[in-house]
């Protein structure tokens, strides 16, 4: 039987090879693209927190102030994305159990890939700094299962939609 990681691997790879991630790794994102990404992600995580009460489970789920620090550091105003609204609608339309699939995609992504990106990206990335990464990962893994693969793949699809919009 395949694991959640294996069942989402194809989409994970697609996201890693997207034009957005490529530009991020080469430090070729404009300040406007970067700030739009930060706001998209901030709002998404706030919505997940609201739905699941994440910050009551672990303080590390609360990322707003770190995102705000990174947004202010760009010196730019975010312009907002249609993809944010689409993603929020998806989160609001699913069960709490399913919503953990999106926690898996985003928080675990930042706990792992985010650390690698931080070494390459010149812009401040306080939003991937954690004091208790292990504690956070333990809680996430306790709430996800292989049965969430379909919803996690929806998360990757919506993420790629946002990345494409950012790159327009």
């Amino acid at each position: 039987m395949s694991t959640l990681k294996e069942l989402t691997q194809e989409n994970h790879r697609k996201a890693e090879r997207s034009a957005f991630v490529g530009a991020m790794m080469r430090n070729q994102l404009t300040a406007q693209q970067w700030v739009n990404y930060l706001l998209w992600k901030r709002d998404l995580l706030v919505v997940l927190d609201r739905k699941l009460g994440l910050t009551e489970l672990h303080f590390e789920f609360n990322r707003s102030s770190q995102f705000d620090t990174d947004i202010v550091a760009t010196g730019m105003g975010p312009t907002g994305l249609t993809a944010t609204l689409d993603y929020i609608k998806q989160i609001e339309s699913i069960t709490n159990e399913q919503a953990w699939a999106h926690v898996y995609v985003h928080y675990l992504g930042d706990l792992r890939g985010g650390q690698m990106l931080k070494k390459m990206v010149k812009q401040p990335m306080h939003h991937v700094d954690y004091d208790d990464a292990t504690g956070l990962e333990t809680i996430i893994r306790a709430n996800v299962s292989d049965a969430l693969a379909d919803e996690a793949n929806v998360g990757f699809d919506l993420t790629m939609q946002a990345m494409e919009e950012i790159m327009l």
């Binding site: 706001l39 919505v47 707003s64 730019m76 907002g80 609204l85």
Partner: protein, 223 residues
């Protein structure tokens, strides 16, 4: 220069300064013949200021200011409009209008604050306005008394800093879908205000430009 216009230009500069201090300019690519400034920040989604300076051609000056919270924040929408001639304020409207939370603490603050201004309205509002404006909405017309003009200016000098200090504090406290719908509802009703196109056309702008301005820049829908 007239005292009224002098005061208005000072007010415009003051509002721009405040928004520059807390927000970052956003280039939306508008190409209208009058200044349109847009800002955003971590605490608000979109602040917009436009000033139509037709003092020489029409003897009128008009200023619009709106601030919309982020779609994760149920805070009210800030709105301030003023139009004036050389010697008087022809019309002034100001409100903290409800988003998805009609009981939001910022709404209560504004309504308590507005209570002290006895002259503030007592006028029949059209349907589109009753649907979106709060009971504390401030409206004034034909104000030529200097003390009263100063008082109107004092109001927005109090409410805007307070609003900017408090908006964003309830990020994550509301349902984003409801907030989105509430902000669109506000814009949709504002677009039904027949005075806006009438005034702008009287200032010399053609119908197509005015329509595009109201729909794309002044009160644009979120998707």
């Amino acid at each position: 220069m007239s005292k009224v216009w002098d005061t208005m230009l000072g007010l415009q500069a003051n509002i721009e300064q405040q928004l520059n201090e807390v927000g970052h300019p956003v280039e939306e690519g508008h190409t209208f013949d009058w200044p349109n400034h847009v800002w955003s920040s971590t605490t608000f989604r979109r602040a917009h200021l436009d000033a139509v300076d037709a003092r020489e051609s029409k003897g009128l000056y008009m200023l619009h200011v709106t601030v919309f919270p982020h779609i994760i924040d149920p805070s009210p929408i800030f709105g301030f409009d003023i139009i004036c001639g050389e010697r008087k304020i022809t019309g002034c409207f100001h409100d903290f209008s409800a988003s998805s939370d009609k009981e939001h603490p910022m709404m209560s603050w504004f309504q308590d604050y507005a209570k002290q201004f006895e002259w503030r309205k007592a006028r029949e509002l059209p349907d589109w306005a009753r649907r979106i404006f709060s009971p504390g909405m401030i409206a004034a017309g034909n104000v030529s008394d200097e003390l009263e003009i100063d008082q109107i200016l004092q109001i927005v000098s109090t409410t805007l800093p307070w609003y900017l200090e408090n908006v964003g504090k309830t990020n994550g406290k509301g349902n984003p879908q409801e907030i989105l719908e509430a902000q669109n509802y506000y814009c949709n009703n504002q677009r039904q205000n027949p005075h806006t196109p009438r005034v702008m056309q009287s200032l010399g702008f053609d119908e197509e430009t005015v329509h595009r301005f109201i729909n794309d820049c002044l009160f644009p829908d979120l998707v």
